[in-house]
Assembly symmetry: C2
Homo-oligomer: 340 residues x 2
Amino acid sequence: MKAKVAINGYGTIGKRVADAVALQEDMEIAGVVKTRPSFEARIAKKKGYSLYSASEDNIADFEKSKIEISGTLDELLDKADIVIDATPGNTGEEYRKLYQEHGIRAIWQGGEEHELAGFSFNSEANYDRALGRDLARVVSCNTTGLVRVLYALDTAYGVKKARVTLMRRAADPNDIKTGPINALVPDPIKLPSHHGPDVNSILPDIDITTMAVKTSTTLMHLHAVNLELKEESSQDEIIRLFEERPRIRLVNSKDRIKSTAEAMELAKDMGRPRGDMWENVLWKDSITIDKGELYFFQAIHQEADVVPENVDAIRAMLELEMDGAKSIEKTNKALELMTS
Amino acid sequence: MKAKVAINGYGTIGKRVADAVALQEDMEIAGVVKTRPSFEARIAKKKGYSLYSASEDNIADFEKSKIEISGTLDELLDKADIVIDATPGNTGEEYRKLYQEHGIRAIWQGGEEHELAGFSFNSEANYDRALGRDLARVVSCNTTGLVRVLYALDTAYGVKKARVTLMRRAADPNDIKTGPINALVPDPIKLPSHHGPDVNSILPDIDITTMAVKTSTTLMHLHAVNLELKEESSQDEIIRLFEERPRIRLVNSKDRIKSTAEAMELAKDMGRPRGDMWENVLWKDSITIDKGELYFFQAIHQEADVVPENVDAIRAMLELEMDGAKSIEKTNKALELMTS
């Protein structure tokens, strides 16, 4: 029998996780929850997902828009084994109470604090610690991207120190309200930024500090990474290490991928749903050892990289698979993640 | 008698240096050189600058546009004491030969290599080494901005190590041909970038590496700076150190300057010509000591920060003033640089 997954919040992350879950052999979508009728609600119906209203109050809205719904969030929670919470931030406490009342396992996204779930998840770094858990948080897109490379490097060489500048996309492509159009915005201005401590919620022993800046772009985040490793390495060894990781895609500027825009074009040309890039896009020809320190650039698709992690988190918490590497393999295979 | 300054190349930098030179008590503009008639040529005439054609071939163009010229570059070089070369890159060798034939001192900009002049200039770091020189290069906007802070910190505490991410404006505001509109472009992809070695052309002993990324903005560059100092310091001490520097403007995000866009608005509201910000704009509330390392953000107005440095370079090379601090004071006073 397939595990039944509820998706609470069918926006940027929720709709992507729903589609990824639907592709897995051991899971199915019990229903997706939206607050308001919208083109996304209509498309959810077309895909065959049962649609639920976030509350009683919104039912009339859906009726007016002639979008058939199957009930409310409350009703859905009784039908599912686990809920993916992809609601906007700052509703964590309220929903945690609700989920616990319904005795349903829950997975939050990186917009919520570590403390809400008491456990932060990354497929490669701590799958086994998620086994059987009731609550978890899949860390943010930036943190997920950092943990993927840091976990790999820390396991192989030990990371002595990580200093990272995050150039953040300012808004998602469909967001017409957010700026800046033409500026660079240190954010937060207070240093170091919260991204370092967030990495430590999964890899507590790594000395990492981060500086973050909002940039006038919508496509991807870009990380400028500077590391000191405990053991010596070489450019070739680092390339081989990353090549073996399940969710790092090495690209080469000689192959005409020189920017986040071309990295996104690559995902589209590969036929990815919504043009999503689930992997870290890491520039092979940026990997450099200089005066004993490691440098590289990687790009992170903010809408997509946490999607396979959510799928693995479901599998771990419901103990559908006890071995993390095998879950990653299943997820990747169902998504055609590294083979495409 | 005032020193006579020729400006070869009346574009983004040339026109700004011309105006700054014209404001100095000990200098005057002998003439400015343009290749083609343009609105900038017309405005130069209105300002009272004698206009010269880059070559004989272009004279007809100016005549057709009814812009009166006073002769050619060749003629101008015989009338001036020093030439500011603000021509587009890659013409250095050719012009060096010409300048030497005319026996005129010359100052290039950061687009040219250190080797062309054999000497790279920054007002605070090495004014005395420029005294009486025939050839010099004022380093690029980014390098100037870095040298200002690094020289101050190195003198006070010793800089053990500097790791800087440069988020570069992709194009100047008047440049309609250059992208990207919506992307982040690691540039160069090969690490570390050339900006570190360029800093070393002035401060040879500082261990600095840099990573640079082109961002979709036209206004200013932004530097994310991470430093290890040789001697311990504190946030307050660093703030005091920067406050005393002649070309560092400390700003505060609480004062509603949270981005490069607001920093530029500040320059406009101060009544600066062309809205220019000649100083490093350094966020006071970003200055942080964390685990013994120093962090801060600064923004650099790429069109403007080298302008006062060019003025000081003229003064040093023509020995109009033997003391660098005094030259800086004169330049700043004439521009109303730190008093505004």
